[in-house]
Subunit: 333 residues, 2 copies
Amino acid sequence: MSVTAREIRLASRPTGWPTDDNFAFADVELASPSAGELLVRNTFMSVDPYMRGRMNDAKSYVPPYEVGKALEGGAVGEVVESGVDGVTPGDLVLHNAGWRSHALVSQYTPLTPVDGVSPSHFLGALGMPALTAYVGLLDIAEFKPGETVFVSGAAGAVGSLVGQFARLKGAGRVIGSAGSADKVAHLKNKLGFDAAFNYREGDVRELLTRAAPDGIDVYFDNVGGDHLEAAIDSLRRDGRVAACGSISMYNEKELPPGPRNLYLLVGKRLTLRGFIVLDHNDRFGAMAKEVGQWLADGKLVAEETFADGLDNAPAAFLGMLRGENTGKMVVRL
Amino acid sequence: MSVTAREIRLASRPTGWPTDDNFAFADVELASPSAGELLVRNTFMSVDPYMRGRMNDAKSYVPPYEVGKALEGGAVGEVVESGVDGVTPGDLVLHNAGWRSHALVSQYTPLTPVDGVSPSHFLGALGMPALTAYVGLLDIAEFKPGETVFVSGAAGAVGSLVGQFARLKGAGRVIGSAGSADKVAHLKNKLGFDAAFNYREGDVRELLTRAAPDGIDVYFDNVGGDHLEAAIDSLRRDGRVAACGSISMYNEKELPPGPRNLYLLVGKRLTLRGFIVLDHNDRFGAMAKEVGQWLADGKLVAEETFADGLDNAPAAFLGMLRGENTGKMVVRL
């Protein structure tokens, strides 16, 4: 059996914000899988902030996408034809050959469907974003019950989990920032945040001080820029920052100045620590067990924003970078 | 017995660089010590960078100096009259009532003179600067043998010890920056640094890249500013920064921008950690034992720059802030 797969390639590298011209669609014929391979039809694919970095030709923790080749990223696929003993058509797998309708994959994780839980959650609340939130909060920021936690990008895939994990783990107070009044209402009314603010409504430092008049202990940084500066101001003695990403800067052509108050690290004994989720796969089991239970018990809200069809993947990616999603942005194929 | 003590008071708070007008001299009569007190004649007093912060009216880890009152700081004194059983005139003590010729002290550490070691070293290579270097390098930056260490302010009281401790602990390579060609020669020829540069001679980033073409693992930050930005660029994966101080900024009226490359924390998994030596007195014993042995064995160069007489203490303090000292700046009374 052979299938015609539609795939999305990097047509050119963006400068600043990506445009449609940076993406190209192509049809390729896929043969039957060899031994050890699976032919899968993708049902869900992920668009994530880190992908913007891979569009640049820069040395980083993952190699850049290659111009003229298909993009990559997390996807859930259904096996169409199997070259692996014990895997049969209809089985679900998680793999990294997103941005295409079908793929031949040799590296994959078998998925066990959970009643009442959409397989798309393996790209979000039970996947890489969840592990990012879990490791960042617990291992990197060394969160302890009773502490006050602030997270930026709080309505996003990772941020919405950070805030809820903190609440479920006994935080004294959970504060989030997001980019619209609707998202702020969502954080407070649906996700159980104690306070939230729309960072577009004023000076982040003032907004954070109002939301956390007694300061914060942990800041989970998804955005960088003025949020980080405000957090350093608000951090109490022995406070910690888990530096996860800087989405505010990914599309800047010139790097903005860093926080002017970094000298406060000394007097307040602060720790800023960057991390990459790929290094922490050993924590996947612990995360999946704890988070799976919260999901099953209805204690965790795992919001998703869906875009439909492969043709809409570039728009979904750009929309995610602009903050149009609430919770995990997923493309449904 | 009563003595007339000469003391130096904070006359007014400086804006930017302190001037002579910020200091005032006064004579005060000291009575005989009460029970539990010692009357001491100071023989050496310390001038340290952190004192600049205490001249501001700002909440910090130590309270600000009070206008109209005597300054404070580390000093070695000889007991003149004792109100404490077991302490007799002539004994040496370490205490915090510097900036004066004599003082009544109730909090002090008895000092045991070491043959061939000037008691002034209890303000430097066997004192607070040594503990700062020891804790910062080993506990905060978690230095491991074989690693490459970069320290700024490397000819200063703390920096000169950081570099030597790293060498004695098995660093792969030790790099220092200082503010003159003489100091750079001193680092390379006397203190055993593998490489050193004069940061006034060019762009710190380029100078550091040349001195550490393969990158660094640990940065011990005494100065902040462009040194920190350059170090973040040069740090290798899993690198650590011990943030000890920001002497480049203490006299700035407006805070300069922070490092533009702070986003590199994420991809390189870097940790920046601030610390204050006061929190780490439990490590004093371990430091004194190890460093004392290095001193006794002649393995450690404990350079001092002396100023003579209390009247010269303000000038010594300002000179230290400008970097005129090599090793520990001490006022000899």
